[in-house]
């Protein structure tokens, strides 16, 4: 049995008008419905909108540099910021529109998810971050 997915690898959809929001919120500004948004898993596929490779990081979270981050347009879902895990130099491997998969981490992880290229050989999977 696999561990439960991270509770924040999710977004919310309004039960009245179906508008979606990430991260979760209680109000739907599209139709003023309050507290009637259902939690759904984030879509598992998407495309890279933009990215950067960070060479000078913050004290926290204490990530080893360099690391890649990007905004990802999830299919029929929101645009999310995510760590982008690739084999090799991300600035050579990444491009706008690159198909990605979202890998949800288990509920005990610090981070809820990361993204990686679709079909990446030996994909990092849930152990990725």
């Amino acid at each position: 049995m696999t561990a439960a997915a991270h509770p924040q690898a999710t977004w919310v959809r309004c039960t009245a008008c179906d508008a979606g929001y990430y991260p979760a919120q209680r109000n739907c500004p599209a139709c003023s419905t309050w507290d009637a948004l259902r939690v759904e898993p984030l879509p598992r596929t998407g495309r890279l909108f933009t990215w950067t490779v960070v060479h000078v990081g913050a004290a926290a979270p204490p990530l080893p540099v360099p690391y890649a981050l990007g905004y990802v347009d999830l299919d029929d879902g929101p645009r999310v910021l995510a760590p982008i895990v690739v084999d090799g130099d991300p600035d050579r491997e990444l491009r706008h529109g690159l198909p990605l998969v979202l890998v949800a981490h288990d509920s005990g992880s610090d981070l809820p998810f990361h993204c990686e290229p679709a079909g990446m050989a030996g994909g990092a999977g849930e152990a990725g971050r």
Binding site: P23, F49, T50, T52, A59, P61, L63, L69, R79, D110
Partner: protein, 391 residues
Amino acid sequence: MSSTTLRTVAVRGVGLTTFGRLPGETDRSLAEVAVHRAIADAAIDPSAIEAAWVGNVTGGQLGGQMCALGQLALRPFGLGGLPVTRVENACASGSVAVRSAYLAVATGQVDVAIAFGAEHMTRAPTPLTIEVLAGASDLQAEARFGVTFPGVFGMIARRHMDRYGTTPEQLAAVTVKNHRNGALNPIAQFDQPVTVEDVLAARRVATPLGLLDCCGISDGAAAVIVVAGDLARPTDPRILASAQTSSAHEPFGDMTSFALTRHAAERAYLQAGLDADAVDLAEVHDCFTIAEILHTEDLGFCAPGDGGAYVEDGRSALDGDVAINPSGGLGARGHPVGATGCAQIGEAVLQLRGDAGERQVAGARVALTHTLGAFVHGAAASCAVHILGAP
């Protein structure tokens, strides 16, 4: 929009400290110097000041003096009893402090008000400062993943380059211009000219941005004293417009333009009865090179996508169409975040009085300032635009 008639407001005094690495100082000690200089410049008795606003962002986390910075900084001037308010609006804090003082005078609440901002940031190790500043993004959806502000603007640069063909050399032209201007500004943090090759060869901070695409981490303070028109001297510049916007309902957009800058500029131009063509100089929020290129477009100085060519062709140089960041901007003057908005107003006032020395923009009559703060879900979160005019 309300139809309240606003009074004429003038800037009677400005005071700036040196910007840079200033060991031994604090937010409070720097604020005291800026306030002292502004009072001297205004040639008023301190007791005439009826209200105060102070911009500060990182004091609680980096310096420990979370509260009462304004009250403490005003004590040496015998000032007590007046309303004192700390403004936190990320990197736009100083500008929003000025706007608050402006509104108090314009609406007749008081006749004399002071806005100042101070930030002592070099006290902390750089990774801690980066962490604290990343708190100006959405902690849950952005900062937790390791987003940094250079990273945010790296992602913006990548979009602008992809959509418009903006080049690394055009980004570098922003640094070259601003350091050239900063070399003429006695208070600037970085006072040495740099070349395009220097910028391109600098180590990477967050691709595609390198160290010289980024403003430094700075200490400094600035203060602005605003007065009702009938208390202004004939040479005191007027505040023609003040506008503030946020990104709360802004769609994510394509990250090549900031809607809140466009909206603030529209409101400011409308209030001042001017358009972008009337602006002689602009102090804009060039926290990163790509940021100045976006602002050049969003403030209406050129068409969307033309910001890179605009700076590369010298149109934003001191003798260009619009002198952008004659002070050196955030990139060369420095960016002590809570002080920046006040420092921008300070530069505008010096330029409009003809007191800007070697970096004086010839015949300056209209100045614009633009400050941006925080970044959530693909868009800056806070923006203030002011327009000042020579009397």
